[in-house]
Symmetry: C2
Subunit: 159 residues, 2 copies
DNA sequence: CTTGAATCGGGCAGGATGCTCAACGGCGCG
DNA sequence: CGCGCCGTTGAGCATCCTGCCCGATTCAAG
């Protein structure tokens, strides 16, 4: 997420209103927020095109697709095979997020799986990728706080 | 995300179509997918109410709200203060996700921040919470793979 | 001051909505 | 097997909304 357009308070208020009611019409948002219809429309387009508003599928819960198990996998990469390993890891759809991080390993992957055996087969698959030297897995026992950005939105909206 | 309704292939195809075009009307989805309008409507309502389709704000990129920095913070909790510490951590809006995990620490938090100084003040704030014994931070250098579930959706949709 | 971008209010031609209804088909159960 | 339940279907109603366009105004930057 490099160089995303920064949202102002009206942008944030629009998104908050949509968080409350995702089916709200542009016209209703405009009336509720006290701005012109065109303005809401232009703002939404800008947020979508500018990357601030991501893809619809970000709303989908992997557990509903049959992947109730979440794990965090630290992956150590050998430097020579960096990009090829990344591409191979990208072919595993169960890796739903990945960051190159500071710390002991090179990558931290958020992985979903059907069950523990499936998770094990996924980490084995990762280890077979050329360039992947080591993995270390921490299992999520409870999703203590599901992904949320509402508090951040409220801050920008001035609440 | 406990006991989420499982999605079938039509659910997944609806979500894929919406991923392609989030503004698609129910009528257009119905025509495209070859089902009745009411069916799409009923499916969407069920996915929303059943938890499979999460809140709109999950689409919002924290970087666009002024939080470009991502970090993963391992938090060790003393057992006596478990729920009070959790509640206090929940009051920090920059903690955008948190899991109770296996491994060395008790919690893994995904934290966003304005800059390194801000991150430091956040971890200091966490350490001041009664029950939080220790934190260990890994900084995300690059979001190598932004959050994605499209591949999982395609699997369920039968592609 | 000039310029460009954003907002505003209005409008056009066409389209969509939430909800209701009755009928039908498939499935599970006794 | 018969029955009940649930989901899907197609149709319709009254109401509302859309993408896009336009000219005028406002605001910020040079």
């Amino acid at each position: 997420m490099t160089s995303v357009n920064q949202l102002d308070d009206l942008d944030a208020r629009i998104l908050l209103a949509l968080d409350e009611n995702p089916d709200a019409t542009v016209l209703h948002l405009a009336q509720t927020l006290g701005v012109a219809r065109n303005t809401v429309h232009a703002r939404l387009r800008r947020m979508t095109e500018g990357g601030a508003l991501g893809s619809f599928s970000k709303r989908v819960a992997p557990a509903a697709l049959g992947y109730p198990l979440v794990a965090f996998v630290w992956i150590a990469i050998s430097q020579a095979s960096d990009s090829a390993a990344m591409a191979s890891l990208g072919e595993i759809p169960e890796i739903v997020e990945m960051h190159a991080t500071t710390g002991d390993a090179d990558l931290l992957a958020k992985v979903v799986a059907r069950d523990p055996q499936h998770l094990h087969s996924l980490t084995s698959r990762m280890l077979r990728i050329e360039g992947v030297e080591r993995t270390s897995t921490a299992l999520s026992l409870v999703e203590a706080m599901p992904h949320r950005v509402r508090g951040l939105l409220e801050g920008v909206a001035g609440r």
